[in-house]
C-alpha cells in the first residue's frame, strides 16, 4: 500500500508542481502574483474539451492545441491587464488586486458562456481500466499525467538552462534593469514568459480535467490555493523550488489522508506552509535574501 500511496503522491504532486512552475515563473520575471492563472486552468481544459468533443481531434492534438491557444490567451490577458500597471510602476499589491479582479471577471464570463454545469470528456477518450504494474494499480490517466509532466518539466529546464532565451529569462529575473542594459528586449520577454506560463497552466488544467473527468469554470480555484502553498514552501520565483515543493505538497497531502486522516488532508499542506513562513520566510529552498525588483 505504501508504494501505491507514493505513486498517488507522485500523480498529485506532478500536477501541483506543473501549475506552480508556471505561476512562479511569471513571478520571477514579471514580479507579479498573477491570479489570472486560475482562469488559464479552466480555459485550457475547456478548449481541450471542445476540440476533443466537438471538433473530434485526438486527445494529444487537442491537448497540445488547447495549451498553445491558452498560451496566446495568456499573452493577451497578461499584457492587457499588467502592462499599464508596469508602465505606471505600480506596487506589487496593485497588480495582485488587478489580477484578482481579472480572474473573477474572466471566470464569470466563462460561467455565462458555458454555464455552471460540470462537463466531461467523451467516455473512453482515455481508458478507465486500471493497469497493473506488479502490485501497483495505475489508471491510464494517471500514467499520462506523470509522463506529460515529466516531458514538459524536462523541456522547461532545458529551455531555461541551455538556451540563449533561457539565459535572458534568468538574467531578467536576476536584475531587469541590468538585463535591459545588456540588450535583452524586456517587453518581448514579458510577453514570452506569459505565453510559456499560461501554456504550462493550461496543461495542468487539461490533466486535472482528465483525472477527475470533469471540467467546470471554477476548477482553477483550489489549484490557486495549492500554488500559494507551493511557492511559499519552495520560495517564490525559482522553478526548481516549485517543482520540489509541488511534489512535496502532493506527498504531504496523500500521506496525511492515507495514514492519518483525510479530514486533515488540506490542513496538512497549509500547516507546512505556515510553519515555513515562521521558520524560513523565503522558503525551504529559498535564498536568505528575497530578491526584489
Amino acid at each position: 500500500m505504501l508504494a501505491q500511496q507514493l505513486l498517488n503522491a507522485l500523480v498529485l504532486g506532478s500536477v501541483y508542481a506543473l501549475f506552480s512552475m508556471g505561476f512562479t515563473l511569471t513571478f520571477g520575471v514579471l514580479r507579479v502574483i498573477n491570479l489570472l492563472y486560475g482562469f488559464y486552468v479552466a480555459a485550457g481544459a475547456f478548449l481541450a474539451l471542445v476540440l476533443v468533443r466537438d471538433v473530434g481531434l485526438p486527445l494529444w492534438a487537442a491537448g497540445l492545441s488547447a495549451a498553445l491557444a491558452t498560451g496566446v490567451i495568456g499573452m493577451v490577458c497578461d499584457t492587457a491587464v499588467l502592462t499599464p500597471l508596469r508602465r505606471a510602476k505600480a506596487p506589487e499589491l496593485a497588480s495582485l488586486i488587478v489580477t484578482l479582479g481579472g480572474v473573477l471577471l474572466l471566470n464569470s464570463v466563462m460561467f455565462l458562456v458555458f454555464g455552471a454545469e460540470v462537463r466531461r470528456f467523451p467516455v473512453d477518450v482515455l481508458s478507465q481500466a486500471p493497469i497493473s504494474l506488479g502490485t501497483l494499480q495505475i489508471g491510464e490517466v494517471q500514467l499520462t499525467i506523470i509522463i506529460v509532466v515529466a516531458i514538459v518539466v524536462t523541456a522547461l529546464f532545458l529551455f531555461i538552462e541551455r538556451t540563449r532565451l533561457g539565459i535572458a529569462v534568468r538574467a531578467l529575473a536576476e536584475n531587469p534593469d541590468a538585463a535591459s542594459l545588456m540588450g535583452v528586449n524586456v517587453e518581448a520577454m514579458f510577453i514570452g514568459i506569459s505565453f510559456i506560463a499560461a501554456t504550462l497552466t493550461a496543461i495542468a488544467g487539461i490533466l486535472i480535467g482528465l483525472n477527475f473527468n470533469a471540467v467546470d469554470p471554477y476548477m482553477g480555484e483550489p489549484l490557486m490555493l495549492r500554488a500559494f502553498a507551493v511557492i511559499i514552501i519552495g520560495g517564490l520565483g525559482d522553478i526548481r523550488n516549485a517543482l520540489v515543493a509541488g511534489l512535496a505538497l502532493g506527498f504531504v497531502e496523500v500521506m496525511t489522508a492515507g495514514y492519518l486522516s483525510s479530514n486533515f488532508k488540506d490542513a496538512a499542506g497549509f500547516a507546512v506552509m505556515v510553519v515555513t513562513l515562521w521558520l524560513r520566510p523565503s522558503g525551504l529552498f529559498g535564498h536568505s535574501v528575497v530578491r526584489r525588483a
Binding site: M1, Q5, N8, A129, N211, N213, A214, E221, P222, V254
Partner: protein, 372 residues
C-alpha cells in the same frame, strides 16, 4: 331582470344537478408557478390536475366535485403567506396543498394552523415541517427516510458485512446525508472499516481510495453531490477496486451526471429514490402514460407526489363524509392509500409512515434503472 330570466331558463331546461356548481368543494394550492421555482411548481400543478380529472369523474362525498384554486408563490415566502391567507379567508377552502418549498411552508403553514384548516405539503422535505402545527400534513418522503432503504437493500442483496464510508466534509447537504447513512449502516449491523472525507472541489481521491482498497471492504457508501461523487466512483475503479465491491450513494447521486461523468465505472452504482418513472408497477405506468398524454412531457417526482396527494385528500373527504375541518383532519390521519409512490399512511405526527414505495436504482448501461 335579465339574470332572473336566465335562471328561470336554466331551471326550465332542468340542468341535471343545478346545485352542483355551488356545492363544489374548494381546495387551495399555493405553488411556485412562475420564476425559477416553476420547474417544481408546474409539475405539482399538473399532478394535482391530472388526479382532479379522475377524482371529479365520480366525485367525492356522494358526487360533489372538487374545485382547485391555485395561487402562485413564485418561490417567495411573503407571497406564499399572502396567497395562503387569501385562500383561507377569501375562498374559504377546506384544505390546502403546498407551498412548494420548505422555507415557504415555514412562513405560510402557521396561517393554516391558526385557521385550523388541513394543509398538505407535497414537496417539502426539510426537518420540522409537521412541527409547525397539528394541521400540517406532508406526503413527501423526507430524504432521510430514503438512504436507510438503500443501505438495507445493499446488505440484503450482496450480504455486505464491512463498508467504508466517504463524504464531502465541506458541504452541509453531504454531511447531513452522511449522518443518516452512518446511522443506517450501524443499524444494519454492518461494520464500518473507515470513514474518509474529501472536499467538493477536490479532483484527486487516490489517497483515501488506496487506503480503502487495503481494508478489503465489501461496499463503499458515498454521500456527496453528483459531480464530486462521480469523480470518487471513477477513481475507485481506476485504482483497481473491483466491481465486486458495491458502491452506493446518498440522495445527491440521484442524477444522470453520475453515469455521465464516471462512465463505465458507474455500472452497478446504487441509489434510492422515493419515485422512479420506470417503476414497473401498473398504477405507476398508467399515471406516467396519462401524464404524458395530457402534458406531452415526462412526469417527475413532484408531479407523482402531488398526484397521490389529491387522491389522499379525496379519500379523506369521503371518509369524513363532510367538509368539517376536524372530521377531515381525523379522516386524513386514517389514510391508507395505494398510490404511484406505493402504499401510503400517515404517522400520528402527520408524516409519511411507510417506506415500501422507495425504489432502489442501479446504473445499468449508463443509466439508472430499477435494481433487478
Amino acid at each position: 331582470m335579465k339574470r332572473a330570466v336566465l335562471f328561470a331558463l336554466a331551471a326550465a331546461f332542468g340542468f341535471a344537478q343545478p346545485a352542483l356548481a355551488q356545492d363544489a368543494i374548494k381546495v387551495g394550492a399555493v405553488e411556485g408557478l412562475s420564476g425559477p421555482i416553476a420547474k417544481y411548481g408546474v409539475p405539482i400543478r399538473h399532478g394535482i390536475e391530472l388526479a382532479l380529472d379522475q377524482v371529479n369523474a365520480k366525485g367525492v362525498i356522494g358526487g360533489r366535485k372538487i374545485q382547485m384554486i391555485f395561487e402562485d408563490s413564485a418561490g417567495q415566502k411573503e407571497q406564499a403567506l399572502t396567497a395562503m391567507k387569501k385562500l383561507l379567508a377569501v375562498d374559504h377552502v377546506v384544505a390546502v396543498f403546498g407551498p412548494t418549498l420548505s422555507n415557504e411552508m415555514f412562513a405560510a403553514g402557521p396561517a393554516a394552523v391558526e385557521r385550523q384548516i388541513p394543509d398538505i405539503g407535497t414537496s417539502t422535505t426539510a426537518n420540522g415541517i409537521t412541527d409547525i402545527g397539528d394541521w400540517i400534513f406532508r406526503t413527501s418522503l423526507p430524504e432521510a427516510d430514503v438512504v436507510p432503504v438503500t443501505v438495507a437493500t445493499v446488505k440484503k442483496k450482496y450480504g455486505v458485512k464491512k463498508v467504508a464510508l466517504m463524504y464531502a466534509n465541506d458541504d452541509a447537504f453531504s454531511k447531513s446525508g452522511f449522518d443518516v447513512m452512518k446511522a443506517a449502516v450501524e443499524k444494519q449491523g454492518i461494520e464500518i472499516a473507515t470513514i474518509e472525507t474529501f472536499s467538493t472541489k477536490d479532483t484527486d481521491f487516490a489517497a483515501q481510495l488506496t487506503k480503502i482498497k487495503g481494508l478489503n471492504v465489501d461496499a463503499i457508501g458515498i454521500s456527496a453531490l453528483a459531480e464530486a461523487g462521480a469523480g470518487v466512483v471513477l477513481q475507485a475503479r481506476q485504482l483497481g477496486i473491483p466491481p465486486s465491491v458495491v458502491m452506493f450513494g446518498g440522495n445527491g447521486f440521484n442524477s444522470p451526471k453520475v453515469a455521465e461523468i464516471a462512465g463505465k465505472a458507474a455500472e452497478g452504482f446504487m441509489v434510492g429514490t422515493p419515485w422512479f418513472i420506470g417503476k414497473k408497477d401498473p398504477l405507476n405506468q398508467q399515471f406516467v402514460a396519462a401524464y404524458k398524454q395530457k402534458y406531452n412531457e415526462d412526469p417527475d417526482q413532484f408531479a407523482a407526489q402531488a398526484y397521490d396527494s389529491l387522491f389522499i385528500l379525496a379519500e379523506a373527504l369521503d371518509r369524513a363524509g363532510s367538509t368539517d375541518n376536524t372530521k377531515l383532519h381525523d379522516a386524513l390521519l386514517k389514510t391508507d392509500h395505494k398510490g404511484v409512490l406505493g402504499p401510503f399512511r400517515f404517522t400520528p405526527h402527520r408524516d409519511p409512515a411507510l417506506v415500501e414505495g422507495v425504489v432502489v436504482l442501479a446504473v445499468k448501461n449508463g443509466k439508472f434503472d430499477t435494481l433487478e
